[in-house]
């Protein structure tokens, strides 16, 4: 599916500030995010990248300022991949079923989707293992599958490969590039290789501001 190129920003941030425990971690952020290309947010530790990403994904609220979405459905059909994968105390299958039940998918349809995707990634053998006991690479891959099962229009990724070895990093990077042809990707990354792979114009942050 060709992604529609829009002249308008799909997400607009206007004077966004975020205060956490008496400290401003985001200061007066003004930013337009467009549909084309992968948006990469980069910066040193503590720059406010993850905080900004969570605000964009509506996992938290700004202290002041506004975030406008061109289409509310965009954010309602979003996915988020955390730096450290979060799983319920269930099997891989159980976690994926839960995610699909949140999206209102019927059990039989969900089971089919899960089988299809796990087979595609050669992960059927871990379907009934505890998700919390997988290796970090397997966890991040399952986390990825969980997000794409929900058919998102926009995917937020918070340093998805920071804890992974080269092999899994390559797999995740390839999947991100494949997905970017059809959906909007916004990724936080500190990896020079990853930034170069995804964009020529990363959004650089420092001390809560865009530089």
């Amino acid at each position: 599916m060709e992604r529609e190129i829009l002249s308008k920003a799909i997400i607009q941030l206007n004077k966004i500030c975020k205060k956490i425990a008496d400290r401003y971690v985001l200061k007066n952020i003004n930013l337009d995010i467009y549909n084309e290309d992968i948006t990469v947010i980069t910066g040193h530790n503590g720059a406010g990248k993850s905080t900004l990403l969570k605000l964009l994904a509506r996992l938290s609220r700004a202290t002041s300022g506004t975030i406008t979405y061109q289409d509310e459905n965009l954010i309602k059909k979003s996915g988020f991949i955390f730096q450290k994968p979060i799983f319920l105390n269930r099997s891989v299958r159980g976690n994926l079923l839960h995610a699909l039940s949140c999206a209102g998918k019927k059990h039989t349809i969900a089971e089919d989707l899960i089988t299809k995707n796990l087979t595609h990634y050669n992960l059927m053998h871990i379907a009934d293992l505890s998700a919390m006991k997988l290796s970090s690479g397997e966890q991040q891959l399952i986390s990825f599958i969980r997000s794409i099962l929900l058919n998102p229009k926009i995917l937020f990724l918070d340093e998805p490969t920071s804890n992974l070895d080269k092999n899994y990093t390559n797999i995740i990077n390839q999947e991100i590039l494949k997905l970017s042809k059809n959906i909007k990707i916004i990724i936080v990354s500190q990896s020079i290789d990853q930034i170069k792979k995804f964009t020529d114009n990363p959004i650089a942050m420092e001390e809560g501001k865009i530089i």
Binding site: A57, L59, S78, G79, F82, I86, L88, N89, G94, C102
Partner: protein, 233 residues
């Protein structure tokens, strides 16, 4: 009576399974189990909301719940007695000196405990899973159900604490139940009566039974917790 002889006689009482003895155990379990089920059904939704929502008056409610936890049982018994007596607002329901009055009394005592413990438990799970559940666009109700399900083993432990409290209750239930033989006599009120009568053997047999039941319940619930942690859904 010599303690050693009383102990021997109490064991004989237990092994003979006299009908009075069985009746007392049955009444105790019926009252406590019913009270804990009702308390759990009321406490969990309240605790879930306290753990996951901020609203005006929330902290006042938490302070109130914590204060109610420290309510003396005999005061609860007295207030309930006034309400349920013939001149009380619920006097027409003829609840005084019945097991239902005892269930109400125990529930009033256990509910604040379960709310407080469950709120702390669910807050922990909320902090752990809320971002994930938001990212999956789960509805608020779905999020609550998920948190309660994930916390089921820890909430079961809280249930155990509540059940222990219920089983050991004596002050409130002796006032509203009346400790009537074959009707509202429980293990704890029975111990009070038999000790005051000087029948140590009967008192000790009820005491041993109480401890054994509490131990049995603990074993079952901790086994369930261990089983649950080994076998992932």
């Amino acid at each position: 009576m010599d303690f050693h002889l009383a102990l021997m006689a109490s064991i004989e009482n237990i092994l003979n399974l006299e009908s009075d003895y069985i009746q007392i155990i049955s009444t105790s379990l019926k009252v406590s189990l019913t009270a804990i089920i009702i308390s759990f059904a009321i406490s969990i939704p309240i605790a879930s909301i306290l753990a996951t929502k901020n609203f005006y008056g929330k902290y006042f409610l938490i302070v109130l719940v914590n204060t109610l936890m420290a309510l003396p049982p005999v005061v609860v018994g007295l207030l309930l007695y006034i309400v349920l007596s013939n001149q009380g607002i619920l006097g027409s329901y003829d609840l005084l000196y019945t097991v239902n009055a005892m269930i109400i009394a125990q529930a009033i005592l256990i509910i604040p405990i379960l709310i407080s413990l469950s709120q702390v438990t669910l807050e922990r799970y909320y902090k752990k899973y809320n971002n994930l559940l938001l990212s999956l666009h789960a509805s608020y109700v779905k999020r609550l159900f998920t948190l309660v399900w994930e916390a089921k083993y820890d909430l079961t432990i809280n249930l155990l604490v509540g059940f222990g409290r219920a089983l050991s209750e004596v002050g409130a239930i002796i006032i509203v139940g009346g400790n009537i033989a074959h009707l509202t006599r429980t293990m704890t009120t029975g111990i009070v009566l038999e000790t005051s009568r000087g029948d140590l053997a009967s008192a000790i047999s009820l005491g041993i039974t109480l401890i054994v039941i509490a131990l049995f319940v603990n074993i079952i619930l901790y086994s369930l917790k261990a089983y649950g942690e080994r076998n992932i859904v």
